[in-house]
Symmetry: C2
Subunit: 454 residues, 2 copies
């Protein structure tokens, strides 16, 4: 008797569901000022949907997967700092495997694989596809991903890769050398990012870009993980995660594996990692308040501020403004912003949280003023500060504040004052907005003691 | 016996003091976003002094005049909206002739001339020079202005102009055709802004640009004023000012006058009316937080925000950011921003006032959050609002709040709540900063009733 009907269906040549791990990493400094230490690039809402609303890369990819395979198990492997954004953007049912700290792709994939087996109950014979969370692609890409999953399910090889048909001799990608030019081929070897002339030679030989998409049967990856890491199950791996060595999947597994197949993908595929490539995917030249005069050519503006951006006579320029700062860059040059952004040291000026969002309005030596938005039904942690007082002025909505255990209803116009040490929270009955003035000599995000709700 | 010793000194060939009227007009939309409806371009602090601090055009011009003629009577003819800025930047002793409304240059000069006679007691025989408030010049310019004043004092003509030696066939200036090429000459005629080829012909004939500087004996201008306007004295003219016809000085007086001398000025002289010309006068490429990568060429940034501007690979571009908005413009194109700025309709987001300053931090449908800074010893008007409540949270300094006649001391951390109708003010003992949250459905600047102090 077969206990795993979906595997049995496969064995009879039937369609089986896809288990997909989306790797969601990076701080996305290359898309500053829209990305910051909290908001990575994949959460920036920049793609216009048919209804005129904007969606992020992660939202776009998630809905594309659901279109191709409505029954797919989608698990997002990410760090703690992104969990709120993922649930905000994908809803609570999105399955998230949280890395306690960053340890590169191999530990992340090992953890997610253990999560699939031990938490989601996926069988070791089942296929799993690992995919970056931020490719800018059309439906045909995830159709190929599905085919790759089906290929892995067959078990003809240990690992199956999606090989991207190269369009130019890029120095940015790793190359996969296949045995033959057929759609599916065994892999001879990998080549790390080459120079242009070597890349040209690879392409002549039929090499493909390694696009970071690969599939395997779950048991294979758990075996590989067990070879390199001493662990029993997901909980055990999770608990020792911070002691793991940083190592990439390519280095730890792919480059050492001799039994690999590659499947060619010829469709459109873009890595929107820089402003230059991101703006190519924008439907309209401007998002947010912006005015371009008639002399502007190939100019894009993404403005999250409430005040307008006026552009006059610019060519091949991207302008982006947020509470973090303002970028004005030649598009070609925009791929080089990272070292400059690394040098900008300031606190995070905005963030979307699971409970709502905040925006820093003003910073002085001994005060900071913030706008806090709590979503309906949500609340802050119950917490206190040691070295600052706070004042809330509610500007819209209503809710219940709890101060040192005492409840009070608050609504637009109400003022609440909390001295240092006062335990406080607010629960939003409706969407609730308040202006929080923090007062003290040493205001910083680490001055926060959390308590259980009273 | 001579009652007017300074005139007598002149008559004996001695140096007499200069009476100078600085015309301070315009809303300066061409320098948006640093200028707004309240802050005109002449008040933007953009010129680096030797001590490293920045000064504005009006400060620069005022100190240049004082250097050339420490005893000069300097009167600034301007509108009510600029009086605070002038006193903030020049101190309380600056003499200001306030136009009740804008009526172009002839009524403004007529009013200022009456002010000189009736308020300051300047004699009708004394010379007066009228000069724009915002030329970007060196000391030699005001030395020439002083010579022009002395020329006017001699009374050889009704009107004496400073003729700027043209450097190119500009279509932007009016031209003055002199009889001869000597330093001082009688004027044959004026020519309005010509096309380039006509301008070339004028220059060949020895024409000069009309730089808007002219001198006369006070009595002459009062006579001209009396011919065109029915008034008795300064107070009378002031009271009927809003009924006057808009007319320029050139049109009302200069073009009709046959008895004019022109004095050539060959020194440097710039009209910093656009971002293009303004940035040429900047000592450093950046004011405020800005980072330019090594690929930037001829880029200037003026950033009044607290967050950084990052520029990558730009050429011939000016970037300016303030609470009003962000300009990114090709320098050449920057002279064309006015019609675009005209279309931006938003409230004023910052202003320097006589008592301090304000900065809008956040605008929502039914609230507005502002940072207010009161200078030591200053106070707000005693006032109330009909349709909004307000909450102050003091973030630094201390002072006395008066609410419906009752005084209370307030300092950093204190919160004051004022319902609609409550009469309120605050007097700053030290410099005082507060966050003001305005709450109501119809928040606007006109909802303000002022009262005498209790």
């Amino acid at each position: 008797m077969c206990l795993r009907p979906e595997v049995c269906r496969h064995r009879k040549g039937m369609v089986i569901k896809m288990n997909i791990i989306l790797l969601s990493g990076g701080s996305g400094k290359r898309l500053w000022p829209l990305s910051n230490d909290i908001r990575s690039k994949q959460f920036i809402k920049i793609f216009k949907k048919q209804d005129g609303e904007f969606e992020s890369m992660v939202q776009r990819v998630y809905s594309q997967i659901r279109e191709v395979d409505p029954g797919a198990t989608v698990t997002i492997a990410t760090s703690k700092s992104q969990v709120s954004s993922i649930h905000n953007q994908l809803g609570e049912e999105a399955s998230v495997c949280v890395e306690p700290c960053r340890r590169d792709t191999f530990p992340a994939i090992a953890l997610a694989s253990a999560y699939l087996r031990d938490v989601l109950g996926i069988g070791e014979e089942e296929p799993v596809v690992v995919c970056p969370v931020d490719p800018y692609v059309e439906r045909d890409y995830f159709e190929a991903v599905k085919k790759l999953s089906d290929l892995a399910a067959k078990g003809e090889s240990n690992l199956a890769l999606l090989g991207m048909e190269p369009t130019y001799p890029s120095e940015k990608y790793g190359y996969v050398i296949p045995e033959e030019k057929s759609e599916v081929s065994r892999v001879v070897t990998f080549r790390e990012k080459p120079d242009v002339s070597t890349a040209q030679e690879y392409i002549r030989q039929g090499a493909l870009w390694n696009g970071g998409v690969f599939a395997y049967r779950l048991g294979y990856m758990l075996l590989k993980a067990a070879e390199l890491i001493d662990f029993t199950d997901y909980q055990d791996l999770l608990s020792r995660y911070d002691s793991l060595t940083r190592i990439s999947f390519d280095y730890a597994v792919a480059e050492k594996e001799s039994d690999i197949q590659v499947m060619r993908f010829q469709g459109k595929w873009k890595d929107l990692g820089t402003w230059n490539t991101l703006t190519e995917a924008m439907e309209d030249p401007c998002i947010g308040k912006a005015i371009l005069n008639e002399k502007c050519r190939n100019v894009h503006v993404v403005n999250e501020l409430d005040v307008p951006v006026l552009c006059m006579g610019l060519k091949d320029v991207v302008v982006s403004a947020s509470a973090e700062g303002i970028l004005v860059s030649d598009k070609e040059q925009s791929s080089h912003i990272k070292p400059f952004v690394d040098k900008i040291s300031q606190q995070v000026m905005f963030a979307d949280k699971s409970w709502g969002s905040f925006l820093v309005l003003d910073v002085e030596d001994e005060s900071m003023t913030i706008k806090v938005t709590l979503k309906q039904g949500n609340r802050m942690n119950y917490h206190s500060h040691e070295r600052r007082d706070e004042v809330w002025t509610v500007i819209s909505g209503c809710g219940q504040a709890i101060l040192d255990g005492k409840e009070q209803v608050i609504r637009a116009g109400d003022v609440v004052r909390m001295n240092a040490g006062c335990r406080h929270t607010v629960i939003a009955r409706t969407e609730l907005r308040l202006i929080e003035v923090q007062l003290g000599r040493d205001i910083n995000v680490h001055d926060k003691i959390k308590y259980d709700m009273p």
